[in-house]
Symmetry: D4
Subunit: 231 residues, 8 copies
């Protein structure tokens, strides 16, 4: 891909990738790099109004205090840098109307920002073997948003956005299709969301780890064109 | 120590001592067990009004969002169970007037509860060798609180309570005495605090790891007798 | 589950969950927490007559000296804290008539208390591959104790209660159903026992690791209601 | 050393030297091999009346139930093979009058056999740095048992025989000489014992790890000659 | 098995089971213990003429210098203790007519003693996946030595006795039956040998790891009865 | 430090900080962050003419082929990303006149760019103990460049710029002061260089790891002010 | 194989097989040793005109700077010793007309020498599971070079020679036959090459790891006979 | 060092430097490379009559069977490749009169070749702390062989050549000078030997690890000139 065609500027929140380094993991760089020039954002970097897209990446579990819940035994420790980005930096980008794409924890934090709560541990049994299959299908339930191919995605999370108190300003676009019969627990769990008015999308799966993902491509292209169309 | 003399009931917040277990570390059990019967408190256990003392133990760094700070690169991840105990459970015990003893992070969370802020990383240089000596002395600066022996304590923390915005309702009882000449950075750092009116004390060091600590003994005995004297 | 409905108090023997910590593993807390408020019992804590149920959890092998046997090469080291609880504390709870539920080693120690012996190593061959399947079925052989669903349980033990010298005061409620043809060694091995008169049950499997276990639920509910019915 | 002069037969209790092997550690073989032919004894091997000496080697902590104590948090798990040898096999050798030399745990088990109790944890503080020095001196306090050289030994134990309830049939031959001033805790702790009538000795240190130990040599030679002199 | 019936005395060469211990692995003790009292033999222990059977166990590869071969790249380092037992001690037992049973390397060393050579590396390709199956069948090719059950054994070796220069005083009793079609390399490889005149047998497989091995039982019983029949 | 005063923009080459992540290590972020806003540069990011300073950080050894040398046995593997930045990206920044500060390998690559060669292994003996002390002094040998304090720096490198073929366009500003008498090998080794005309400096030590470094501060401030003064 | 018949001399470039040793891996020695006497070549050893064959073995990725490419995130660090051999030593052997056989990276470096470029990462997705099967088939596409058996080879590389800019002086002899339907990415990837005029061959697979490889045998025999036929 | 001056050819026995590689360690290559061109010799490579020097390097302990000793518990396993080189290849080089330099185990194997025996374990106590200092001095005791500098060498061995049965054809040139008073055990232990007539030297220390060793230089130069002077 020649640089000339990379007219879009995409920001991605950086994080501590190890005890002593700060940056992002390479799959995010490769994925976002297909769509534009990628900027790794510092913890407290000044808000950049020129971004065409902000990617909010995955990470450790969200502090359950943010949605007023008693912590589950298996909720992981929370990353103070991500909590800061989520609660101090992200709202400023939302207020500015910058298009935003949340991935996994990124989708969850967007949902919590708008009032959602999370199911902290979808699998409360320690040794259960029938976990969410790594590769599963998604059902697009939003009308008018057609993808003409079957969408198979991956899944590495143990938390998900809850239907309880799901905020009105968001809508569920895609849900998990469980292969198991009568799977009341996981079937229809929330996999893709969008804001009803703002240029904000979120997916529970990891598009940056997939070799073929028409849904992610469609979302990013729509978000990248948002400014031109609406601004 | 015979059971008959153990008339006092001491509660201590439990935590995840490993990925799959909940309880407390043994030095806390041995230390508190010298003064009474010890109860390990569950995450969301009902408030116990019969406690003669609540011990708030050490742990990973406090979420800097609680004192409105940008997270430092070296601030550790925060434990959601401890954050819940600190922000939801602990205030109820404070309101009930139960005597409370905070150790290390426990002292810090009490200070933050009353409005203090923390210095997130006392040693911002990576390879600095002149860290807080493990064994150091404390200077008791509060009048009328005499200990007739030199107090040597231990220290394992990299955060401490700041003098900036130190709340009026607390007072500094003891400070760190640096052995280094002209040590402006660490000398006089806050090591022992107490509430001016409530039966609440905190120490930055770890009395449960010491074989001889007259200061800790004095504090615990004073707190254990509080109910008899004042209530 | 709201706290108001948790009227039952359940004690569980704590143990050293690591070299330096004391408590219980989280699956026990989650499992018992479904039925009432859970108290972690200290090594030498005073007998609590208010318990509605005492859970005796699993652990390392029982000292074979307790049932007068030469130790097998593969019998593990014995935990002095558990041996103390088994031989000094547990008999006091039995004498008081507190309902007791023994799990895995907990069932074995109850059996040994009443005079049973153990088969120390069900699999004396080192490399044998046809070990007890992790998931197997149980056959309820006691009349009048019907469970209308097939009971599939798990199994992690290498010792079991022996039919030889099996005490009269106990009865075998459930046995292992081997899937292997003509399996004389494991078929019918003892999986569930109860005392003929006292409110004491034991299971060889681990209900706290299962997501669905109607047998364990039935036993615990029966034990929790024991006091109301009989006392 | 030629085989012809090895007229003495020395037995030593074997143990599980790893998860899957049985034998003894090499220093014991080298040490005992200086004085005679060494036989590794099996768990349940028939009592051998021809032994000139039985060595009871070191190992993990003795089950505190044997001397009626509540287990300390830091008492290690107990080895069922050693407990069996101590309580079933060793008494038969004592009854037969076979000379016996107990080393470290071996001395402790002999003392417990005759009614002694142990201090379970000489160092109850976790981080104490002034532990028993690895190399220390012994003071021979028994009259008439002179060694004309200073005795420096090693020490790896955290338990020791207590003066409380020390049995009358034993006598203390040597004690620890602490180098620390006013060391009330460790000074005079019991390091060497003997039976007043039977050919039984025990040392708390490890002679098999020393390159020069006149005390151990003297004890073994006295025990090896016992049969010739008295029988 | 009661001790009274254990009239046979079985010796087994000990070895360094770890860097610092000497003995044998437990499967050998369990296996041999079924047939008699087991004695672990020291490196340089005096020849014991009372043994009813000497077991020569497995171990690392034989020094190829003993059969005048250039070492293969994958021949392991040789154990000087085993080489000493093989070349200095074993010949004395052979000369005394003590029945001997060699297992794996033990069979190989007996063969080399009588003049055989070894194939040093049956699998000279590094990544070959079609190695000797762990469980395979044996064909008894010696007339008059019938076992009425199919013999399935295990195999962990990468060296084997060669047909080239196979000594006349030995005979091949059993061979490997390869399951692969036209397997010229492994089919018929030597699995069981016996001496034509002396009470000496060897098997390439590991009977001490099997739960059912009628061939091994038959060999040991024949060897244990040898003295009574012939001596 | 408030953001308002951070008017300078500092770029730093990013690198693979682990197998799967890209960014920089935290000490560089903290160090450079004291002087301005820090941008992590991507591998093939477009040249940014607005940088006030480019920092070229440390890393694995430079490919000796770049200075036409036979590789030494101890020269490490070379990082293709850094080689690309050094040979393709860095020359463009040099040509644009952007101020540049090279640290450790960064200084070496600048020197090689202008024609220098490196001593590949200052310590060719494997076990030599008298390596460059971690903390040593620097002697400023350039006239007119005075620092009024003794400069003590750190050192972690095993390669250094050679005096042989040292390019005329550079000058040596500081050298290593060996504490060893008659140390011909290390004494006066090149520690600080600058370009005679361009705003380019390099230091062999690691200022980002020091808590006090007036030399580094002076260099960076001079470079940051270069544009204002000269451009 | 007797030494007398080993008339051919085969050189193989050595490398650092660990941090502190230099040589070659054993499969190369075993493989080449079947065809002649093998000499391990030193880094800077004088060119040996008597070699009948030079083997250029595998190793870490080639420095992408050699074929003017931006490094991929997953291109490994480059080995300076191999880069030196490839760019300084190998061309001298090519110029002298010594027959050369390149294996894996060895084939790649030969191709790059003659002007080819590499695909740096055939699998740009991180978690893709359908990687090149370890064992696959090759299709010989060059006329007149018949092998009458199906050729199954192994594959461990993640880079390959590109058809883009493939040099005219080389020709593709064999290609990868993908088992997957419509596999546009891997099908027909270059697996075997030869020079049109010089005695130079290269294979992407590892013949030294195969137990049966008629293609490799054919190539080596042709190269070894080259001198006799043409020189 | 230019190649032109490297007229001497030095062979060194290769060995398995890891489980899967063959060669030599780099310090030997660097050391020998100072004196000539180095050839790594294969296991069974044809004897090379053109060598100016053969270096016999260090390694694991010699098989004690070669000097008719019972193996010590701490004698390591023996390397069959080195044993082959020592007993089959080395004698041929000795017979041909090629100059030979043995280092550490290399000196020991030369001594054993000529009839010497080894002390298998100089330190029979497990925990002894006063081991041979890593750096010690050597005393040259042979007249007429003067080195005008103090010789300080290193030492990593636990075996040494014995004075008992020391062969007449060898002479002791240098001995260990113990720094300890009255050190009867180590003082005067054999450190340097030479053959009285053949060009054969051996040193117990490791010259290839030293940065300055006039003794090793003198020996190698004398051996390298041997052919010119005597042949």
């Amino acid at each position: 891909m020649s640089k000339e065609t990379k007219s879009k500027m995409i920001g991605i929140f950086g994080w501590k990738t190890s005890e002593a380094s700060y940056g992002v993991t390479i799959p995010y760089l490769q994925y976002a790099g297909q769509f534009g020039d990628v900027k790794i954002l510092g913890i407290d970097e000044a808000i950049n109004p020129d971004l065409d897209l902000l990617i909010v990446p995955g990470g450790s579990d969200i502090d359950p205090g943010r949605y007023k819940a008693v912590p589950d035994y298996y909720t992981s420790k929370s990353d103070p840098i991500k909590e800061y980005q989520d609660t101090i930096v992200l709202p400023q980008y939302i207020d500015m109307g910058i298009p935003i794409f949340g991935i996994c924890r990124g989708m969850q934090t967007l949902a919590v920002h708008f009032g959602a709560t999370l199911i902290q541990n979808m699998y409360h049994e320690t040794n259960e073997h029938d976990r969410d299959e790594l590769i599963h299908d998604i059902d697009i339930i939003k009308e008018g948003f057609s993808i003409h191919e079957k969408i198979s995605v991956n899944s590495l999370h143990h938390q998900c956005v809850s239907y309880i108190d799901f905020p009105d300003c968001l809508e569920v676009v895609g849900v998990y299709i469980s292969k198991k019969k009568n799977d009341k627990k996981y079937h229809n769990s929330i996999e893709v969301i969008k804001h009803r008015e703002l240029p904000i999308w979120g997916v529970q799966y990891h598009p940056e780890e997939l070799s073929y993902d028409p849904l992610g491509d469609k979302i990013i292209n729509e978000l990248l064109n948002y400014k031109e169309v609406y601004a």
